[in-house]
Amino acid sequence: MISMREVLETNDMIEKENLDVRTITLGISLTDCIDPDVKTLCEKIRSKIRKTARDLVRVGNDIELEFGIPIVNKRISVTPIGLIGASACRTPEDFAEIAKTMDRTAEEIGVNFIGGYSAIVSKGMTAADRLLIRSIPQALSQTGRVMSSINTGSSQTGINMDAVRLMGDIILETARATADRDSIGCTKLVILCNAPDDNPFMAGAFHGVSETDAVINVGVSGPGVMRTALEKVRGESFEVLCETIKRTAAKVTRVGQLVAKEASKRLGVPFGIVDLSLAPTPAIGDSVADVLHEIGVEYAGAPGTTAALALLNDQVKQGGVMAADYVGGLSGAFIPVSEDQGMIDSVNAGALTMEKLEAMTCVCSVGLDMIAIPGDTKATTIAGILADEMAIGMINQKTTAVRVIPVAGKGVGDNAEFGGLLGHAPIMPVNTFDCSAFVNRGGRIPRPIHSFKN
């Protein structure tokens, strides 16, 4: 029988340590909506999403109340729109119409974000993919809930440098199109390498073509829970540290698994995966940087940070894998800057630079995330940052991503305010030495060798 100590431990995690289920994301296939007419396509998309997701928010709220665990976000991901719109869209404006339909439908259903305004172009871009990418600045400036992701590389295909170069321009154009709101459009645009098909977290969520008609994926959280657990083992050996991380990750994951199964049962939609992520928010105490501090570095970015993060990321997976039926998505520790007060403090203290963040992305769960950079950064420089990050993912067979915000009209020393879960960020300096001769070459970086490692 459950003991009082166990009950109090769980409820303390929820009440004092920000334990929550970060998102229930319903993945919906739109392949059966494909139509040569844009208007009909948009109607079909709206109808399919409404039909599949009509009970999502209610079920999420019911589970929240019955189990007493906050479920912060209920979200939707759809099949990459680059595929779905291919037969209908002739112009970027046509694609933007789909984005507006997604936005309106998300609002009707009551979800805060809808992911999948995406294209998978890791080897080549179709004409439709190109149009979708061209439409991103207008799509993200004219909608509030739509999330966009472009997969420009993979360990199987290499890196599509034409797409990387193009995304350098698109990120800047998106920043300018939303200049009046600190370039918030770029917070909804991520460029990935090895993007998973079953990621429940935004901005990179889309419903992959390997998936069934609809699926429930759940993202857990818990940096605050982890930090509190680690406070109790200060000064202990790595063995004790790792064991504590694993035990804590397992507990957090079990809650995610329960919620995922329950949501799946009540919605009549198959359970996909639990994403075992330490996902921070700007709330005090809900910080991955604070966990790194507790592991033993003064600030995130100090020497030792990459090792501490590597250990954390891996032990979270080791603890979580056994606690869930299926795991997937991004799983590990996220290191966004604007969404993590500890990371912001580290930047402001001068401890954390872009270069150190890049090193950390070799071992974290995703990549360079929610980093505000000067608005006058060149498109080729952004493309260079993208290329570096894609290369790390490709060679190391991990998911990497870039979500940078070149904040229009602002420079180093200024702050960008995005509000809510997206947080705020100090603008970080970027290495301004030129890489245009590199990124302008055109073509692809070939797929890597998978043996012969050193």
Partner: protein, 90 residues
């Protein structure tokens, strides 16, 4: 059997258990186990209850208990037992 955990946390005062039990009896909710402790002057009580014959929906019971807690000056919550089982039992 659908089991729920009811927790009561707050300053100790006369009649907390009586009031909670009276409410539960009225709802046909059977109490299977009660434990309580006082930590730093704070009253902590946990009940394991069978809610399968409850007269009202879970959400209503939850809202009633919250309101009752406000009357007494303590925090009362009810949660399905599964969350604790999931977290603490493999």
């Amino acid at each position: 059997m659908k089991r729920a955990i009811i927790t009561v946390v707050g300053h100790d005062t006369v009649g907390i258990i009586a009031k909670v039990c009276t409410y539960l009896a009225g709802q046909q909710i059977n109490i299977l186990d009660i434990s309580q402790t006082i930590v730093n002057g704070y009253f902590n009580m946990m009940m394991i209850a069978d809610v399968s014959k409850a007269a009202k929906q879970f959400a209503e019971v939850s809202a009633d208990l919250e309101a009752l807690g406000e009357d007494i000056g303590v925090m009362i919550r009810i949660q399905r037992e599964d969350i604790f089982d999931s977290m603490h039992r493999i």
